[in-house]
């Protein structure tokens, strides 16, 4: 399916190109990963719910990553980057877990 294909393509590209991440971007990488993960699981759940939409997924993906990075950037400028990153990760983590729980219910009909 098209999603798995895109994912595999991205991983291969990332590993083979493995670009040098600039030093200033490094703190945002983990938070970007978590935010993207939230968007991806949300999309999977919507797909299973039968309400998936391409445009919504792209917008939610990009905005999730950007907003998470923005919050961390703001926190860094204010000197509370660690606390804000923790807050973002907690909220996104809860969302990820509940979305995954819904996906599980769909897949196993539990």
């Amino acid at each position: 399916m098209i999603g798995a294909l895109g994912l595999a393509l991205g991983v291969v590209l990332g590993i083979f190109l493995s670009p040098d991440v600039p030093f200033w971007l490094e703190p945002y990488l983990p938070i970007a990963v978590v935010a993207a993960l939230d968007a991806v699981f949300g999309a999977l759940r919507a797909f299973l719910d039968g309400i998936f939409d391409d445009k919504v997924f792209v917008i939610s993906f990009v905005s999730n990553v950007l907003i998470a990075a923005l919050i961390v950037y703001l926190g860094d400028q204010l000197g509370v980057g660690g606390q804000l990153s923790t807050g973002v990760i907690v909220v996104l983590g809860i969302r990820i877990f509940s979305n995954v729980a819904a996906i599980r219910r769909h897949l196993f009909h539990a």
């Binding site: 098209i2 999603g3 993207a36 939409d53 909220v91 819904a102």
Partner: protein, 285 residues
């Protein structure tokens, strides 16, 4: 709060006073999906949304981000491990330096203790040497001395016209030798300190001590035990000889005890040795 949306996730409607945690759990799915699906249903578009090129691009981006993050973390881990190893090596070498410094410190401290005890010994020896030097200087006549003793004043007989009625060098020698024999430790004649190199002579009509001409009356100062010296002087041979001469020719003689006599020292040049060598001489007993 978008309470009006029909699709709010399978968890159901959150209670009005839900906690933040409940709210997050209830809204874990982006409401946009539901909203778009509702609009599509209103339009009568029954086609289910399928992932398209946009989703593929987003997922590819996601995969790339994850891969890059992973690669970066692995790379950083290597660098961190290396710097950790570097730090450990630095700590170890620092410990070695510290250990060797401590050993050196202990060594230096023991050397210092040894040097201190050496110094102490040298000081003690120096003190002993100084005391010895003082004693030798006192005995030899190089140092001024002070102490109780006898003041002997002798003079020619009243109206002397014969040689024997004058005080002669022989008489002074008798007195001095008698005083030495009675335990005198330092003697001066008219202020001339007697040393081992002193000579009492007669030149022309005057008595000389160390070639300094003296004039009557002659004052002989002797430092020694003032209680015992007079009696021992009388018992000594030379003292007796003097007393006999004194009584026979009517020479004037007076002997007093003086509790505080000061006798000057001679200049060091007078006691300088130019030829003789002192100390441990082979064959000497």
């Amino acid at each position: 709060m978008p309470e009006s949306h029909p699709h709010r996730g399978p968890v159901g409607t959150a209670p009005p006073q839900a906690s933040l945690l409940d709210y997050i759990t209830a809204h874990s799915l982006d409401e946009d999906y539901a909203h778009v699906a509702q609009q599509r249903a209103l339009r009568g578009d029954s086609e289910r949304g399928r992932p398209g090129r946009g989703a593929m691009a987003a997922l590819a981006l996601f995969g790339a981000i994850v891969a890059v993050a992973g690669v970066q973390t692995a790379r950083t881990a290597g660098v961190e491990a290396q710097s950790h190893d570097n730090l450990v090596a630095q700590i170890n070498s620092g410990k070695d330096v510290l250990d060797s410094s401590r050993e050196r410190l202990a060594l230096l401290e023991s050397e210092l203790a040894r040097a201190r005890s050496d110094n102490l010994e040298i000081n003690v020896a120096e003190g002993r040497e100084q005391a010895n030097e003082r004693r030798l200087g006192t005995v030899a006549g190089g140092l001024a001395v002070r102490g109780p003793g006898l003041r002997v004043v002798v003079d020619d007989a009243v109206g002397a016209d014969e040689d024997a009625e004058y005080v002669l060098d022989k008489d002074i020698r008798n007195i001095v030798n008698g005083l030495w024999a009675s335990g005198a430790e330092a003697i001066a004649v008219n202020g001339q300190r007697l040393t081992p190199l002193s000579a009492i002579d007669f030149a022309g009509s005057h008595i000389t001590v160390d070639y300094e001409t003296l004039a009557a009356p002659y004052t002989v100062l002797a430092i020694g035990d003032p209680n015992r010296m007079p009696s021992r002087f009388v018992e000594s041979t030379t003292g007796t000889a003097w007393l006999n001469a004194q009584q026979t020719f009517g020479l004037r003689f007076q002997m007093d005890v003086d509790e505080s006599i000061t006798i000057p020292g001679v200049s060091p040049a007078r006691l300088a040795l130019r030829v003789a060598t002192g100390g441990e001489v082979e064959g000497a007993q």
